[in-house]
Assembly symmetry: C2
Homo-oligomer: 276 residues x 2
Amino acid sequence: MTLQITALEGIGEIQPGDDLGAIIVDAMEDPAAAGASGEAAECAGLPGGLQDGDILAVTSKIVSKAEDRFVSADDREQAITDETVRVVASRETPGGTVRIVENRLGIIAAAAGVDNSSVPVGTVLLLPVDPDASARRIVDAVRQRLGIRVGVVVTDTLGRPWRVGQTDAAIGIAGMQEVLDFRGTVDEFGQEMNVTVTAVADAIAAATDLVKGKAAGRPVAVVRGLAELVDREESSTPRSARALLRARDEDMFHTGAAESWAAGYAAALREHGIEP
Amino acid sequence: MTLQITALEGIGEIQPGDDLGAIIVDAMEDPAAAGASGEAAECAGLPGGLQDGDILAVTSKIVSKAEDRFVSADDREQAITDETVRVVASRETPGGTVRIVENRLGIIAAAAGVDNSSVPVGTVLLLPVDPDASARRIVDAVRQRLGIRVGVVVTDTLGRPWRVGQTDAAIGIAGMQEVLDFRGTVDEFGQEMNVTVTAVADAIAAATDLVKGKAAGRPVAVVRGLAELVDREESSTPRSARALLRARDEDMFHTGAAESWAAGYAAALREHGIEP
């Protein structure tokens, strides 16, 4: 089984109001934009253009730009506060306060996903209002223009507990499965596999970041070879990146260790009538 | 820019004592084993076999099997306890107790990484003793047999806080960069990018899981197109998956919320001379 992941070239700086579906389809139809380059494998670019069963990974940054989610950079800390539904954890570092928060979209991330890179000086960028809907619009645009069915993930760069660095994850999903559920299937020894649910949309996001890079002008990538994940018809329940969010009562890390410790300490004082 | 990710076919059930480097090189040299299949893209398989700059992703399961890390299934809970350095969090579910622990390798994961799928009935599998060394042996075997330099990640399936399901991550690394550090670089607007460190080894692990699948007999995949991540000469500091582990004092989620709350509560009682 082979996957091919190709970053599209020729997607220029996105402006508010831009039609991303149209821009992506146009970029696919231009051979120069299809990512052909000297050192690529024999299969440079995407022969034949976009196909049924392809999956597009679109960086949330360009979705936000098209949707004019810019705010003044002076308001960055205020923007983070405004986007914050709940503070999960925070700590002071030499570089400033790191705030891990749950944002409007239910995503737990540093700085509520407010983005201050690859934007004009003096601005920051908020996350899209509804990344699932943004993904849906691109699925529909491709269907209308080319008559084919693709999946779309809107991706964002997220850090994670316990491990260094970031990987990209799916914050918006349309036209494809969010996860692959192996529970109830059996392994080659006939034993039931009882835990594995693969977050395929997140794996796809992480994979496509490897070709998109950062600050390199390649915010869209095409994944070919996972057609089995793409919806052949409208799915009965709408696809959503919220399917990848863990419910609080199943999340043993819903709040940081220091914050939880402090809350337990305060509760003990309260319950025993002790002034803090 | 294009990546090609191909799962190798023809890697049979691995037995204790097997030479994984030799098995992988042999599988690459057999055209039938190179993963060619009817529905693949024009570039089925890996034309020309393994090449300089390729990256191999090897499922930890086969590394453990080759290294005879089997123990009796009766001892599964005991095996988890033995592999546990520190309990990070636990909770009761209908399916049993979920234990998130820090294991010998410093990895925080459910069940300490003890594996009870795709193993003979009556056994479970521990993680490799030293996955970095296991990766190194494969790098060296390929160099010896084929005269080329590849990178190797040993991969394992890990859950994560805040998000549903699992993705694969790198638990052993050799011959390649663990991360891509963008700090100090500038974006297209000339502003310094100050946070991004991409955990490329984890992204590669997640990506290759998309072609390997579970219980499908494809425990090795080849990533072509990321040669810039592969070491052209011995790196000055040995590569290690430990580079992807967050230090405890930089990890706001080193202990679960409930456990931390209970510790804070107990500390308050203790400090105020109250019997619990």
